[in-house]
């Protein structure tokens, strides 16, 4: 039943998008509920009282919080669909490691690229390029981070593909120049319906960040 699965989310959230992509890959029907973070719904506050953050997946009334926890949950519950985590234990451990790496590094450093100026911005730019290069080295010449199969690390990272334009414009560098294989990978992922139907146009993301910059008094 579609009503049995509800996703509390915000349209532009790369974390929410991870969940949407995973659900689409598994062919799971669900109800999408857009949250207004300046006016959080009672449903969200009840479902995630600890952090009060999106995304939250509510399955048969039970809430699951944190995007990568949700993605693993989706993989385990809808186990008859194409697997998100690989079967081999060592490959699973590597996938978890890189998913965690993306979680720890991309959003925090990327945010500094549009929030900061001057020397702090240059420092963030240096760090971000380093992060891209580490990911590029890990990807190598593979089709996806999961190898031939689109999987966990791809899902963790691909929502940020729509943010590359924002990061490089604010940071004053070119993602393609620094990490061409990563850009090629992103374009390959966009050929998948689950990804192309979920990600927004990079210009729309840039516009959204422009609005955030005004809100935080940046520039």
């Amino acid at each position: 039943m579609a009503e049995a699965v509800v996703l509390l989310d915000v349209w532009v959230s790369p974390f929410g998008q991870r969940c949407r992509i995973a659900l689409a890959e598994k062919g799971v029907a669900y109800e999408y509920k857009e949250e207004d973070l300046s006016n959080k719904s009672p449903m969200l506050l009840q479902a995630n009282p600890v952090h009060k953050k999106i995304p939250v997946l509510i399955h048969d009334g039970k809430p699951v919080c944190e995007s990568l926890v949700i993605v693993q949950y989706i993989d385990e519950v809808w186990s008859d669909g194409a697997p998100i985590l690989p079967a081999d234990p060592y490959a699973r451990a590597q996938a978890r490691f890189w998913g965690d790496f993306v979680d720890k590094k991309i959003y925090e450093c990327g945010t500094r690229l549009w929030k900061l100026k001057g020397e702090a911005l240059q420092e963030a730019k240096k760090e971000f390029i380093e992060i891209l290069k580490v990911l590029e080295a890990e990807l190598g010449d593979r089709k996806y981070f999961g190898g031939d199969a689109f999987g966990y690390v791809d899902i963790a990272l691909v929502p940020f593909f729509a943010w590359f334009y924002t990061y490089e414009t604010c940071g004053g560098f070119s993602v393609e120049a620094e990490a061409p294989k990563l850009v090629a990978w992103g374009k390959r992922c966009m050929e998948r319906e689950s990804v192309s139907q979920t990600l927004y146009d990079p210009l729309k993301v840039y516009e959204f960040v422009g609005f955030l910059k005004k809100k935080y008094g940046v520039e």
Binding site: H59, E76, V77, R92, A93
Partner: protein, 247 residues
């Protein structure tokens, strides 16, 4: 059930540090699963060549080598142990929702509780008072979950009747609460304010495998006092403080 061949001790090697709670998590997990392993003591401030090769991204501990292949981050290692030896005692619960709940709270332990406890250790005066308040806020949330209607309500351990994944993650590190209470002369786990958490911790530390894993309290106290003195002395020893504080 398949008859699995005995595991040669050389298959598993753990690089760790004696005072590192993340190392203890893995040692305890290996013990609970009955998996033999070799142990190599590392100095977190002076990473060995082996550590730098196996963990070039973070250069930190613990590192588990399985037939020479590195598995990093204690929480990931615990998952790996369950995935590789599913017929040995399971660490994680079997139900997907219970697994998601355990994972959520394991992140809480590492992202919220541990930094708050570390802040108590590395601060003074008003800063320390704020850090202590933060620890109390976090413990309150756990106390709630152990109560009626909470995710773990009515259970002796987070894992149920026996200790499991979340007990290992929260338990290995919670001994710093008692250590910091004594060294910093602050009250962190008041049994009246947090009766369930206090009871859980006491039961956890009473387990045979836990007693065999966690260093003696006086060794931990001595270590904490030394690091604290070095921190207050300032300068190059700040790194040592960060290391102790984040353990």
């Amino acid at each position: 059930m398949d008859q699995q061949p005995p595991i040669p001790p050389s298959d598993l090697k753990l690089l760790g540090s004696w005072a590192d709670s993340h190392t203890h998590r893995v040692q305890l997990a290996l013990k609970l699963k009955g998996l033999p392993f070799q142990y190599q003591e590392e100095d977190p401030l002076r990473p060995s060549a082996a550590l730098l090769i196996h963990n070039p991204v973070y250069k930190n501990l613990p590192v588990l080598l399985h037939r020479g292949c590195p598995v990093l981050h204690s929480i990931i290692i615990l998952h790996f142990l369950d995935d590789t030896w599913p017929h040995h005692r399971s660490l994680l619960p079997s139900d997907p929702f219970d697994r998601a709940t355990a994972r959520f709270w394991s992140h809480f332990a590492d992202d919220k509780l541990a930094p708050a406890v570390a802040a108590v250790f590395s601060s003074e005066g008003d800063g320390q008072k704020a850090a202590v308040d933060q620890v109390h806020q976090n413990l309150k949330l756990l106390e709630l979950e152990l109560g009626d209607g909470g995710a773990f309500g009515g259970r002796r351990f987070f894992g149920g009747d026996e200790i499991g994944f979340l007990d290992i993650v929260l338990g290995c590190g919670s001994y710093w609460l008692a250590v910091f209470e004594e060294v910093m002369e602050v009250k962190l786990v008041d049994p009246e304010a947090f009766p369930r958490f206090h009871a859980w911790l006491r039961d956890f530390e009473d387990q045979r495998e836990v007693k065999e894993t966690i260093p003696a309290i006086d060794k931990l106290l001595e270590y904490a006092r030394t690091v604290r003195q070095m921190m207050l002395g300032g300068g190059a020893t700040a790194a040592a403080g960060d290391n102790a504080a984040s353990n």
